[in-house]
Symmetry: C2
Subunit: 630 residues, 2 copies
């Protein structure tokens, strides 16, 4: 028997799985995956799982993946993934948390197909509030999923099982869905990441609809990097199969400004809880520490919008999604009574109500547009309460409704959101905050969350779920996210040679225009570099092309600047500098800083070509300076 | 009595009215406006008018306008305008074509307020298919408005009266509304311009809703320039008062490429008509003549969308808009029976139908998005038929439905459209074509329509309405439109000194990036201009800054390039040229073409500064060339 079968995979990140598979052969990897599968039990033993794949399906998945030519490039090769049981996986029943609803899907949902394309191994299907109707995780005939920190408390829902198996480190990634908070609330109550992408950028083809016009597939993970890897994998247009599919812009925002404006609610009702407000205050302080400008804001328009969802006709969409099924008179014990009563409440709405509510929504959206004029991000508590099973049982509708306070409005307002941990209360339970921004700012939210978490829990890539103490400081490095893939056809590659270089005074201008670093390079051996006389606080160099063979290679960095923000970059460039073209050492021409002749021939300009570039010259100046000081 | 009262104002454009008022005093202008007002009669004598303002209101409007400090700058000073009677004008009843619905609005609609701000004088309210429900112009207790060319034929609707009074030249401008074609069909049947702006860019505040989520205020005029002036005046965000209000982007598209792709329907059913197909073929030939690339396209997705509107639950919006009124049991003779039956058909739809239809719409929109990937503009017949009153009476629903074939889908698909004349059939009746494009392409459609009309009816600014023969060739000039206003804060001002100048080989690149010419100017007296050695078909110059007092002033042109397209412009600029900054003769610095030193010092470069600029040098070269030929 190979050594692999003794590995404890609990808490493994994507990287841990990738590196195991890299170092081991087909059989060892298969054994490890099987070991993991065998160690799991489905409900009622472990309420988080409704079903697990059978061993033969696990084996055939791994056989397929390991036979692929490009397997070494696959970002999720051999990574076990859990899928909420309202998302189709071929060969697995889809129950949506309702045994009598179960069907055998003829194909994978688009999102599962994309995960498999990326190398993922589906391990099983997870429990949920029936038909994804709930934020508690208790509305399921398959059992009530508990919080991973205390069995008396709910996991939150509706993606209860997915959050639970990630928080316990069984899988590094799980898919959820999120219509009104189902992907965020259980993330908060289980101390993990819950990313709710912008509506439509992840296909809902093959997902049992809750409210079709609002549904999103969401991502649970132990760290941001894994969430990002998943997002990059599954965010893909699917116009033919999903009427709400849309693509991310080719250059989505990568980063908010260093000093961004974050709005928090002026009033945060505590709904009888006396512990979570401290967590939120603490989180806001961390945001201040990372230089965010915190603004208190009247959230009434957003709360009004949330009200639309709870008391408005969007529930008709839930009714529509289950109508045919319910008309077949399924056995009552397969239906959750609370869910059923909610779905049946749809009958009170008529066609006029739908249009009236849509008008109201549009009216509120006008106000929200106004809010976002000066604000980059909203920060809210993810959910007000950490409810016990008993509390939910006593007031199933009320507790649920309170839990949606800060999540409900997000999809109705077409926003992106990420729920992240905010630490633990004195009773040992976690809660979280959610960062919310305009549509398509998903990657920028990830980057901001990373700034926050790097500050809060530095030197750890997975200080979440149940692994807070155990694994803290295991990985002694901060990590940077990749951001979205660089698209070159909607961008301009620009060479920078001076203060825009990494680590220098004007590099922020590249962030400002959503640029991506590509690589360091050099000019062809045909250039000179001059230090121009200082006209402001920043020393700027000017590049001079002097023709064949007489010049030097000058060090530069290449950035990809989106076409649509290039004008903003241009407007920040003062004379005698400009943007023209430069020949690289490999003979390629790219856009680049250039300099008018009058710049480098003027009194006070200094030929610094012998330093090979701006960076070396600046180092030289610094050293000279420090010598002086001694 | 002043001479003015004998003027025949029929057929006057905005310019005619402005120039009259400029040359005459307060009293003469008032007399002329009064003369116009007195010459008009309301329904049933002239079915186009439901009401005219009383003389005292006309007088007070003119008093107010002529007392304004900025009156000489007002684009519509003293221009009489007709308003469809579902749009509020203070001091005038709003009837929406239903006497018992009439109310006295407490304020002007936003659009009327904006027109008045621009100097307009409201002359009266025009007849319509009741509650703007119809495309025939016959569904009104105030009478059936006839086509201005033949009393036996319908005017088209619902904006019947507005089209009629413009086509007869009574007013140069009239407001309509357009939900499913009401602003386009009557334009076609009366040989005038019918501009249906992108949804939301003109406020619907103070407009009686038809289908609130689809309604647009539309513009009728005798020529494109007047339509453009009106659009510039009324396209203004109104977020507080209109939940569907949105603003045009700060740099809306000004122009389609010279060789644009225009799609026409592969199959055009004639619905029994044998005359209109010739007009359409003729129009398509004109589009080919102006260099459009015509593509035949399967319009099925668009027709499916139209079907959604006719047989789908959007009629519930009409019901919602009239529900309260109808519940008061208004006298039956004040209601049009066809309109009533349509509105009551809303009762058959339930809340599920609304969501189901919205899903279907979204699904079709995915296909339409695909259509517009390679297509700039759709060109369709505006309406299939020129129906007689008799035909409409016999089949009121069917004829109406046929007429909407090419107009119905436009607002459901969130597109912009302009209906323009396509000439006359051998029975003396006109019909038209409609150019359709993506949202916010309103100005580009106007520009394209202008290319079409300048080719079809050159040397005339108003060859439309009933004035075809009479006024043709009166104004012996083609005219150019202004396009949207130039916004400088979202643009970069760039000086061009070479082949990008007006009339030269690369000027198209400025069109391509949606740039606007600002003015001609010169550099400070510190520059030299060099003709660079020709590297391709185009001779390019390079600008060299040589410092104080030794240089020349070089002629240049300033263009405003939108920030978001600047990157595209940049990507078209080859070495040794680039974009930097230039000092103008007034000391101002703007972005500008610059040139690397290596460009102008190379073998074959020629100092052409003594010519003062590229244009003069090119003239010199041409003359030299022609001298050689002789």
């Amino acid at each position: 028997m190979s050594k692999s079968s003794f590995e404890n995979t609990l808490g493994w990140t994507i990287d841990d799985w990738l590196s195991f598979h890299k170092k081991h052969d087909y059989e060892s990897s298969l054994s490890l995956l099987k070991q993991l599968l065998r160690s799991q039990k489905v409900a009622p033993i472990d309420c988080a799982w409704i079903s697990l794949v059978d061993e033969s399906y696990l084996e055939s998945q791994w056989l397929l993946q390991s036979a692929r030519d490009n397997r070494s490039q696959l970002p999720l090769l051999g990574v076990p993934i859990a899928v909420k049981d309202n998302i189709d996986v071929k060969n697995c029943l889809t129950t949506a948390g309702c045994p009598s609803f179960a069907y055998n899907p003829i194909s994978d949902s688009t999102v599962v197909r994309l995960l498999k394309n990326a190398g993922a191994i589906i391990l099983g299907k997870t429990n949920l509030d029936q038909f994804a109707t709930g934020l508690v995780g208790t509305r399921s005939p398959y059992g009530k999923t508990p919080c991973v920190f205390n069995q008396d408390y709910v996991s939150g829902g509706s993606s209860a099982g997915s959050a639970s198996v990630v928080a316990r480190g069984i899988v590094p990634l799980a898919l959820g869905t999120d219509t009104a908070g189902s992907g965020r609330v259980p993330a908060a109550l289980n101390n993990i990441i819950g990313l709710k992408p912008t509506r439509g950028i992840v296909s809902c083809n093959g997902v049992v609809p809750a409210c079709k016009s609002l549904d999103c597939v969401s991502i649970f993970s132990l760290n941001l990097k894994d969430a990002e890897t998943c997002l990059r994998t599954i965010a893909n247009p699917d116009y033919e199969n999903d009427e709400y599919s849309r693509s991310l812009p080719s250059n989505p925002k990568r980063k908010f400004d260093h000093k961004l404006n974050i709005a928090i609610p002026k009033n945060i009702p505590n709904f009888g809880d006396d512990k979570n407000s401290f967590l939120f205050e603490d989180a806001v302080n961390v945001l201040k520490e990372i230089d965010a400008n915190i603004v208190e804001l009247d959230f009434q328009p957003l709360l009004d919008l949330a009200e639309c969802l709870y008391n408005g006709p969007w529930v008709v969409e839930r009714y529509l999604a289950t109508k045919e099924f319910l008309e077949r008179n399924p056995p009552l014990d397969s239906l959750d009574p609370t869910v059923l009563s909610i779905i049946e409440s749809a009958k009170k709405f008529n066609a006029c109500d739908v249009f009236k509510s849509e008008y109201k929504r549009k009216q509120i959206l006008q106000k929200i547009k106004n809010i976002f004029k000066d604000i980059d991000v909203l920060c809210v508590p993810t959910c007000p309460l950490n409810p016990t099973f008993k509390e939910v049982e006593q007031e199933p509708i009320k507790v649920n409704s309170i839990q949606g306070t800060w999540t409900n409005f997000v999809n109705l307002a077409d926003l992106s959101a990420i729920a992240i941990p905010a630490g633990f209360r004195n009773d040992g339970l976690p809660n979280g905050i959610t960062l919310i921004s305009r549509k398509f700012n998903d990657y920028a939210l990830l980057e901001l969350a990373n700034r926050y978490l790097n500050y809060r829990t530095p030197f750890s890539v997975k200080a979440f779920g149940i692994f807070t103490d155990e694994l803290k400081n295991k990985d002694k490095k901060k990590y940077e996210l990749y951001g979205p893939e660089v698209t070159t056809h909607d961008s301009i590659t620009v060479a920078v040679v001076g203060a825009h270089l990494k680590g220098f005074a004007l590099n922020w201008q590249l962030d400002k225009v959503n640029a991506t670093f590509i690589k360091s390079s050099k000019t062809a051996k045909k250039y000179e570099l001059y230090a121009l006389p200082k006209a402001g606080p920043v020393l700027k160099p000017g590049l001079r092309r002097i023709g064949n063979a007489k010049g030097t290679k000058i060090e530069l960095e290449l950035y990809s600047i989106p076409l649509e923000t290039f004008g903003i970059f241009m407007s920040m460039i003062p004379e005698p500098l400009g943007i023209g073209s430069v020949e690289l050492e490999n003979g390629e021409w790219v856009k680049s800083f250039i300099c008018e002749e009058i710049g480098y021939i003027q009194e006070g300009s200094k030929n610094i070509s012998s330093y090979g570039g701006y960076k070396n010259y600046m180092t030289y100046l610094k050293e000279k300076e420090s010598v002086k000081i001694f």
